[in-house]
Symmetry: D2
Subunit: 419 residues, 4 copies
């Protein structure tokens, strides 16, 4: 057991931190201004992308195990601390071509796409020339139970015909978004097992019948690249657009989620670190009732609890990343539920404390806290609500217990021993 990051990772952290400091942070104001005007801030992001790529900070997320594979050959454990740094600015990941949901989609394509699919979609995605979205959640059913998903993907001759309504399709409002990965029911017979009825198809966003209805505000906040509501009405794509095999959509979804959740969690942790920094500085400089806020025991408690909670969560996430590297994504299935749960609940808790230290200012857009908080609250739903992950962790624990049932009996005490 060793808690030290490798020398390579530490070097990469320094490079990335420097890039953030010198290149990215100075553009925060410009970004803000463009977004406020209602433009997608490509004028800020595109030049930064070029500089990041030149600096070797590109596609860091993609493990790429074989020589001929794309990506920077970073393991999940090596990439995770970098995601933490990127997370400090919600839009930074795109600059490094490491943003959700493109990362997950690239991974899906990398793992399951045909040569033609790779050529058409994966290559430009890896190049950062196009963006993509992932259309899974539906407004009309509880998507927490993913088997509820009701969008139909019916085979008609050489085509699939898609009908359904999706929302929280992140990224669909990005001006360069060209591809939607759509999850739907391909086998509607009630005989198939509930996790063996769905498939994923690749849908060019300009296919007739695809309509981006609206960019849905999340906790009053409108993401520039959108959490979109999309209707698919008689959308026809060639059967060659099937990703992986028919009715194996859930297996693909599972494969996609592991690393993406590690990224999400580490970005969340990066935001918690920023919140702690902001809260500590504020506490040191603001006075009330004759003392600095930092001298009040309740403010100290918020800072301390945040520190120990963040440090614990980070270790749990890194351990999950390590487990994925070592034993494969599937072996880390429950760990990934655990970190998703932990990070999302941690994020709102820490951000909330930081806002409280800032007083009314914490609610305004003058600090990043209110917007980060929105993301955090939404994170408690993205990739499954807390309840789904609690359920998964509990079921794993109960399964373990079932295997050794009776083993705790020796710890019970016989009242007669006390007679």
């Amino acid at each position: 057991m060793d808690f030290e990051l490798s020398e390579d990772t530490q070097q990469m952290q320094r490079t990335l931190r420097q890039f953030m400091q010198r290149e990215l942070l100075p553009r925060l104001g410009d970004y803000e201004r463009l977004v406020h005007r209602g433009e997608y801030p490509s004028a800020v992001i595109e030049p930064l992308k070029a500089r990041a790529r030149a600096a070797g900070l590109w596609n860091l997320f993609l493990p790429g195990l074989r020589e001929d594979e794309p990506g920077t050959r970073l393991s999940n454990l090596a990439y995770a601390p970098l995601a933490e740094i990127m997370g400090r600015v919600p839009w930074a990941s795109e600059v490094f071509n490491c943003n959700a949901p493109d990362t997950g989609n690239m991974e899906l394509l990398h793992l399951f796409a045909t040569a033609a699919q790779r050529e058409r979609w994966l290559v430009p995605l890896l190049d950062g020339r196009i963006r993509s979205c992932f259309s899974m959640t539906e407004p009309d059913v509880a998507s927490a139970d993913a088997t509820n998903i009701a969008t139909t993907i019916r085979r008609e001759g050489g085509h699939y015909v898609i009908n359904g309504r999706k929302w929280f399709t992140t990224g669909a409002a990005h001006p360069q978004c060209r591809l939607a990965v759509v999850m739907g029911v391909t086998d509607e017979s009630s005989l198939a097992p509930r996790h063996g009825r769905h498939s994923m198809v690749l849908v060019p966003l300009d296919t007739p019948g695809v309509r981006v209805v609206r960019n849905v505000p999340v906790m009053n906040h409108l993401a520039p690249d959108g959490h979109c509501e999309i209707t698919y009405t008689d959308v026809r794509v060639p059967v060659a657009n099937l990703l992986g095999r028919e009715n194996e959509g859930f297996a693909l979804a599972q494969a996609r989620l592991g690393p993406g959740r590690v990224h999400h969690c580490m970005r969340a942790i990066g935001q918690c670190e920023l919140a702690i920094e902001l809260m500590a500085e504020r506490a040191l400089t603001r006075r009330a009732f004759g003392r600095h806020l930092a001298d009040f025991a309740n403010v100290q408690d918020w800072i301390a609890h945040s520190r120990v909670e963040v440090d614990q969560a980070r270790l749990l996430v890194l351990q999950a990343a390590w487990k994925m590297d070592r034993f494969g994504n599937k072996a880390a299935h429950v760990d990934v539920s655990a970190i998703k749960l932990v990070a999302a609940q941690l994020h709102v808790r820490v951000l909330d404390r930081a806002m409280q230290v800032f007083g009314a200012m914490g609610l305004t857009p003058d600090t990043p806290l209110a917007e980060l908080w929105s993301t955090g609250r939404a994170m408690r739903f993205f990739d499954g609500p807390d309840e789904v992950h609690l359920r998964a962790v509990a079921k794993a624990e109960l399964a373990r217990s079932r295997e050794t049932l009776g083993s705790t009996a020796v710890y019970y005490r016989n009242p007669q021993d006390r007679d």
Copy 2:
């Protein structure tokens, strides 16, 4: 970074688990019976000690870096997982000569004792022939702020004369307890710095003037070896009984605390694991309202939260142990505060959930939960209350912030960018 325990540690875990299973757990009833009759259960413990020693499970806690030093040469990181296993039975550590406060006292003597002191006290302690206690906390002052300690140790010729009242002196009720390490004020002048006025002296328990007033019940529970109240009235010991240097008592106390807190925390985590096992089995076997408790979402939530909280806490404790091994106890000072805080609060939370799953039975002595819970609640005070550790963690965070004051300014947003 590597999350796998070393092969040696894993082997040691197997050996220890086997010993617990085969030798110790079968004696739980006998232990209970003796305690209930009011006897110290030496008849159970002494034979187990002999067997444990024979099995090489002895003084595992003592790092012992040099050839000629006692101990099993285990690092803190290597010992910690073993403490977790021992913790599952509150009295198990003594069987392995690894129980508090003797471990801390042995470490103190190992580090600071003169040759004569070592010969007289350390050797029999390492052999498990005698027990010792540590007399620090006082009823009349808030010992959370240790500089409040008021017991006086006055030099009179070749002796120190001790006067004061202590309590929560753990172990003083053990029939073999022979030594009290006593902390008191040696420099009462108000000119000395607050942390430079206290010393530690070695006081044989049979010295005239030492009176064990009572064994104080903790949350209604009476520890067999006692959390004792002791009065020291004109107790005279030779100046040769000074441990370390005069007025450096706090430096010694600090040195003593680090590893001991790791042990405490890991034992607490072992108890949390046991609580999860008990709670899961109970949930799987008990029915209400037509379902097993395990099928109720709130019970699942308690199990899941316990699992992710315990896993996080363990990583934090192991990291602190690793840090102590790598950079020394002093460097891990704040980490040790953090784990003490985290483990104590975790313990009561997990135990409380487990009790709730057991219904009324959880409150009875028929399961180990109620007694473990008592320990946990007390752990929120032993080695300093939560508030002291929160304060320490916050102050460290604020100190870091103070050093880089202004560094978060770049994250603030200029309202004019949104005009």
Copy 3:
């Protein structure tokens, strides 16, 4: 709406407070001494009972609506504030013949007993000459779901034959306990509705086959009057000992619970008030790090949260009492679940905070906190665990919602209004 207690109630409060102050509190030490010696402290209690009765502070709990009925004619709303005052000392209620479970049993007998039953049991209970217990909870089933109760009460000729194991039968260790009200299955056919199979029978405690197995410690604490485990083995009582009608045991249990829960809750609130007083005094007098604890913002927060939580809970309990007086016990069914839930959770929370302010002393028997805390923790199970009450409150809310299903639709927003 009027938040002022009636002049009569206020007068009664003054009388009771004075009695507590002058008569009862000075005996706390004597009581303690006797209990510590293992005696039931009748030598303290009996003289106090005589004085209380003489002062008109007797059977205050019993509404007694008719001229010829026993009791002091206090409504639930009038009695509740008195129960709060009594609650400050855990054993005080017995002095006023107002202690559980006798109060509930007296009420049961008052409502459902035959003339002969009243003569034999109710009269001496109202006189305080005998004590009684209520045998419902069983160790072998989840009694939270009361329909699980498995003790059998089989009719054989002119007798009922009782077989089963009960525990948490409070009061059975009292030296004057003469009567157990036993709940069991009289109709074992699976055809009867689950709430229509049980009955209550009156069992003299000296009936052959009744064995008080042990007084079960609760959170390490042993109640002098006992939370007993009792086995009933072929216990025969005449059919005339049936209370109320056969198979209507649940209806009786419900009738019994309402007022008793109000009493429990108010006593718990009285203990919370005492905890706040203790915590505030301690905070004002204890110093750490150069300030009084009262000057630390976290301690202030604990006190303030306790204050506002206690004040809210009291209002809720008084409202439930008022509702029972006004609309009958049945109409207040859900309110009674609500207050039981609220008061039990509040109690452990407030007591826990108070213990924390006291430091290690809070865990010892030197203050009443640790023992009160034990009661509070157990209260989360007595009369049903929190989960049963949460379930009851939720089901009532959901039932209301079901009746007006669709009524919230008008509050939803049509996304098109924002297009």
Copy 4:
């Protein structure tokens, strides 16, 4: 003590509920549409105001004790349940001329204004012809400690000259807003007591030097009437515009706050009730994992906790209203801190649970939850952050304790009683 609302109040509730149902709720969509277009929705509100006034639902908040005084003669206790109903729609209060901050300003003017001031400002406010704002909080100081307020109001001949920056001046973006009540320092000498240096002046919003800099979004949400940042630069008003007496601004502020906080709290409670209704309906109609959400124990727990917390909070608020009616605003000072604290924390807790039951939809503007939550989070700062109220409640408790210091000693136990 009586928990029943008076017949008059119940009648008023019915009338108001009917108005909401028939007149106001049908306009929610129109309101939304106008706001979304960036217009202040006067086209919806003005006609509703006329109808409300015609229905006698006008200025309900103003106690008006004398014949010749304005207002509907409702006591605080009588008005509170009406505020709860209005609160269900955030903008409803304006329809009844009962919205903050105008209510508080009208009360201030009613109590302290000169005849000329009343004529110019109070009369049109009572008529609903103009709106007003209250300029107290400042971005540059911790306004939680109101004595920090730094805006200067300097006397120069017959004028006051105002300089300073304010924000969270609610209502200043309303198209009919004409008046700002401005709080600032009139006595800058450090000799005056800290609460005796500030005054309030009436500033017409069109006075040169007044600049509404921006409408500050709160948790990403932009209130149509604004939480505005305003700069006052050499703003000159005649000395006749002083409200009340010089340097008595804090006394005025206190007088203003009591009833306004009751209104705020009851509106918050109304929103909690709506949240419970929404959450219950959703739980009854949404399915996951083969069951309705209403059948999951954790969802039931959220509903039940919300119900019992809301019921308790309402009683506390009504009690505070009753106390103000009975003993005056000053006597209820601490109660008003308590309810503000309780209601604000309750609101975010209940809204958060409701959002969680709604899944991702809870974050969108398709239900009122996300917007209501924003208000709730902000409410934890409006009229003082939680910490200020916790401090006030704690200080009151500690003051009480100080008066009877030593009174708890009788409850301590002498260890010797257990020897």
